[in-house]
């Protein structure tokens, strides 16, 4: 067990790639909102690059990957990354220093809460959002990361697998987004008017950079430039490609015309869906996972959302929550322990139900934890303060009301 510098090179760069995903998400979300809320939406993602990074270094890593307490949370042994040197911690990665593992995991701790912002866009007070993200990281993310990935974590002990963060990243953020957006309430005019995106090329830019960064997210989760990384790379790309096409097909059938916004959405949910299984399922299964995620999410975004009338503004739940659940189930269907011995059993499709049940259990637990704790956090915040901007502020736009800033001040050229 010694450090492999090829793996270090790979993981350093994957860490940078995953970093890039949060700004990418800021464009993906920021392009989708009305102009008057675009900077607010971008900053809602971007400030997390600051906040979550500092929290991670201070205590987040320690609580997630430190010494186990009851399978639920880590300890305070690595506070301020104390004691993390260049040694290998073979519980997590056997060829790179633990400090590099901590850096890589930090980027996950940044993007996950940023995903939630999509559900809360265009109406939440910025300072309350900051508080929410801090509390959510502390009470939802660190425990969940510990339970699923941490040494001694109890979901891990169930035998459930999660390659790159289906539970920890996508289901948790998606469900939390749903709960929080219901508690926050609908945007003004919900159901009556349309909220038009202000910059679809930015949505596409975000999707493209997300895809690019996702190679670091999924292939990097092999924690080395090894065969598993290559496998995860291919399944990732295949699922994204398949979902892109199937979303376009749905649009073609339903409306006669595919759209760029649809293609971008398809690609992103294809990436979401393959995340838990990227290093477990065979290549052909990744195509199936991708093909099916589009109709599933499309159904939730267009039908279920309309029916239950919750205002998941940018479909954080519809894309990440649902896509993540499907990905987790699909991993239980198609995983093969021959691909990755980290899976104890083969998937249901190969005749063994154990992994499948473990996956269902782990999803249910993740949903429950995320929903309950998010409810508690938002409930307390609502008791303490107003969490929404005023009616006037909302119609003026949050860029002005929350930041006294507008996105394109000199764009008219009249200066």
């Amino acid at each position: 067990m010694s450090i492999n510098y090829g793996d270090c090179a790979f993981m350093l760069l994957c860490t940078a790639l995953v970093f890039l995903m949060t700004p990418a998400l800021a464009f993906f979300y920021g392009g989708m909102v009305r102009r008057k809320n675009s900077l607010n939406t971008m900053l809602s993602c971007f400030f997390i690059c600051g906040l979550a990074a500092i929290m991670w270094v201070a205590f987040g890593y320690s609580l997630s990957f430190g010494k186990d307490h009851a399978g639920i949370i880590g300890g305070l042994d690595h506070i301020f990354l104390n004691g993390l040197g260049y040694e290998i911690n073979s519980a997590y990665a056997s060829t790179i220093p633990e400090l590099l593992f901590a850096a890589y995991q930090m980027m996950f701790a940044i993007i996950t809460p940023a995903l939630i912002c999509g559900a809360l866009a265009e109406r939440m007070r910025f300072s309350v959002l900051v508080a929410f993200i801090a509390l959510w990281s502390l009470f939802v993310y660190y425990p969940l990361a510990h339970m699923v990935w941490g040494d001694g974590g109890f979901i891990k002990a169930l035998g459930a697998v999660d390659f790159a963060g289906g539970n920890v990243v996508h289901i948790s953020s998606g469900i939390s987004g749903l709960v929080a957006c219901i508690m926050l309430g609908k945007r003004r005019g919900f159901g009556l008017m349309s909220y038009k995106p202000h910059n679809i090329p930015f949505v596409f830019l975000g999707a493209a950079l997300l895809w690019f960064g996702w190679f670091g997210f999924n292939a990097g989760s092999a924690l080395g430039a090894n065969e598993l990384a290559i496998h995860a790379f291919m399944t990732t790309n295949t699922s994204a490609a398949a979902a892109l096409l199937s979303w376009m097909l749905i649009e073609k059938i339903k409306y006669g015309k595919p759209t760029l916004m649809g293609a971008a959405t398809g690609a992103v949910i294809g990436l979401v869906a393959i995340t838990p299984g990227a290093g477990f399922v065979p290549l052909w299964a990744s195509a199936i996972i991708g093909v099916l995620v589009s109709p599933i999410c499309f159904f939730f975004i267009s039908k279920v959302k309309a029916k239950f009338a919750y205002d998941d503004a940018l479909d954080a739940f519809g894309c990440h929550g649902i896509g993540g659940v499907w990905g987790g189930i699909a991993t239980g269907l198609f995983a093969q322990k021959s691909i990755n011995p980290a899976a104890k059993w083969d998937g249901l499709f190969f005749g063994d139900a154990r992994l499948f049940l473990a996956q269902l259990a782990s999803i249910a637990i993740t949903v429950a934890i995320s929903a309950i704790l998010t409810f508690a956090i938002v409930f307390v915040l609502k008791k303490l303060t107003t969490i929404r901007v005023s009616q006037t502020a909302e119609s003026q736009g949050l860029d002005i009301s929350e930041h006294s800033e507008s996105a394109y001040p000199a764009f008219t050229g009249l200066d």
Partner: protein, 113 residues
Amino acid sequence: MMKKIEAIIRPEALEPLKEALIAAHVDGITISQVLGCGKQHGWTEHHRGSDVIMNTIPKIKVTLVVTEKRLEEIIGIIIEISRTGEVGDGKIFVTDISDCIRIRTGERGEKAI
């Protein structure tokens, strides 16, 4: 007689005004973006720690052509919705229109409005 009403209003008044005018069954509205400079001289923005004065302010121009009968009613609605009482509420200008044509049908005059 037909009258053209041009109202220069605050951007944030547009949404409620649109709703009110549609409720009042006006025949059509045309909206455009303008920059204005009047009694209100700009809000203060902060860029990287320097105070800067915006000397022209984004405003919305709403144009409606109406029959003379409805003129005062519509002006009343605009004032009611757009007034905040603070500098910058904007102005309404009224002009006579000598003809109006609906392109689709070629109708002219008041029935084309």
